[in-house]
């Protein structure tokens, strides 16, 4: 049996297996259809029905269950997450597991299309080391991503000393609804 305890390990391994059998397009399809459209349909239902409140409810449950170190910030026009210690990427780093070329892409790979369907888009950045931030806004809202500290105050992950100290370049998405919109 494969289990949920080391799920992130075989999940990441699966991305590379799929890439070898159908390229990155198959991986993207997997994130959108299997994860966003099937596995996480409870998230989709909540967010379509309740908008920002649905986002807060979904991530409060799932990030608590996964043991994440994060701060969620509610704002009248946006919902923001600052991920200081991603449990998923952290598991991979601690266990030296890296098969696929960019594990972190999986989140926007399923969240982006789901948000588009619910009427939202995403400002997002990840540093490949277990830290990232997200701002969800209505798809009609042209407001750009906030400056560091303006929405989340001192909890903004961009203000942490190790946010930019990593060797790998960060990946950024502006008002995106898919992984293909990486800057």
């Amino acid at each position: 049996m494969i289990g949920c305890y080391d799920f992130c390990g075989h999940y990441e391994w699966t991305f590379e297996w799929l890439r070898q059998h159908g390229g990155d397009s198959l991986v993207n399809k997997f994130w959108e259809e299997a994860i966003g459209g099937d596995s996480q349909r409870h998230a989709s239902d909540l967010i379509k029905e309740k908008g920002f409140a649905g986002m807060a409810a979904y991530w409060a449950h799932t990030l608590a269950e996964e043991g994440a170190g994060y701060v969620a910030t509610k704002n009248p026009g946006a919902f923001r997450i600052d991920m200081h210690d991603c449990p998923s990427k952290g598991f991979l780093l601690r266990n030296h597991l890296e098969q696929y070329h960019d594990y972190c892409d999986h989140c926007i790979g399923w969240i982006g299309p789901m948000m588009k369907e619910a009427g939202f888009h995403v400002h997002h950045e990840h540093n490949h080391c277990g830290q990232c931030w997200w701002e969800f806004r209505k798809i009609t809202d042209p407001t750009p991503a906030s400056e560091a500290g303006t929405l989340a105050g001192e909890n903004d992950v961009r203000l942490q000393t190790d946010w930019s100290s990593q060797a790998k370049p960060k990946d950024k998405f502006d008002a995106a609804t898919s992984v293909q919109e990486k800057k």
Binding site: I2, W17, A34, H42
Partner: protein, 182 residues
């Protein structure tokens, strides 16, 4: 001492909602690449991702297999599983005195409550009908290079999985012995 689980997390239990993704992955691969590709996926996973497990089983024999499954199911939320070591001339025993392997003939997992089926069913998810077959294909691929084989009987919420030395297996796995999940 080597931990029986080669990949370790900081929390003692996995997040049960990940079973949704495991189930959805099987369904996706079956739909997009076909049934045979799904079996290949399971076997590749057992042979490569689980290679560190295979190494532990190769060096530690049935004792290592028993230790692995004890630790594995202890970390799966909602699992009710008894791990028995069958010794020569004895029935199943749950009293494992790990360390002496020469008399042991098999490790039997009595899966009273499969944690994945339980969680999927409890949340009203459509379960991939071939879900329970993954246990055979993954474990068989992990066990073979270590000199062992597995036979699965039952499924759809509870089953028996028997790990034994390859030379002691009389017949191949009959896939009809593994029930469809629903």
């Amino acid at each position: 001492m080597i931990h029986p689980l080669p990949y370790q997390d900081q929390k003692p239990l996995g997040a049960a909602d990940f079973y949704f993704a495991i189930n959805a992955t099987f369904r996706f691969i079956r739909k997009t690449l076909g049934e045979e590709a799904l079996k290949t996926y399971w076997s590749d996973l057992g042979r490569t991702y689980m290679a560190p497990v295979t190494q532990q089983w190769k060096h530690g024999g049935l004792s290592a297999i028993a230790e692995y499954w004890q630790a594995f199911f202890a970390a799966e939320p909602g699992a009710e599983v008894e791990v028995n070591v069958v010794e020569r001339g004895e029935g199943p025993s749950s009293q494992m005195s790990l360390g002496v392997d020469s008399k042991r003939l098999a490790v039997i997992l009595e899966v009273r409550t499969c944690p994945a089926i339980r969680h999927l069913r409890g949340n009203g998810r459509d379960i991939d009908p071939g879900f329970c077959q993954h246990c055979y294909y993954v474990s068989e691929a992990a066990a073979l290079p270590a000199g062992f084989t597995v036979r699965v009987q039952g499924g759809n919420g509870s089953c028996r999985q028997t790990f034994l030395p390859r030379e002691q297996a009389e017949d191949p796995q009959d896939l009809h012995d593994i029930r469809e999940a629903s």
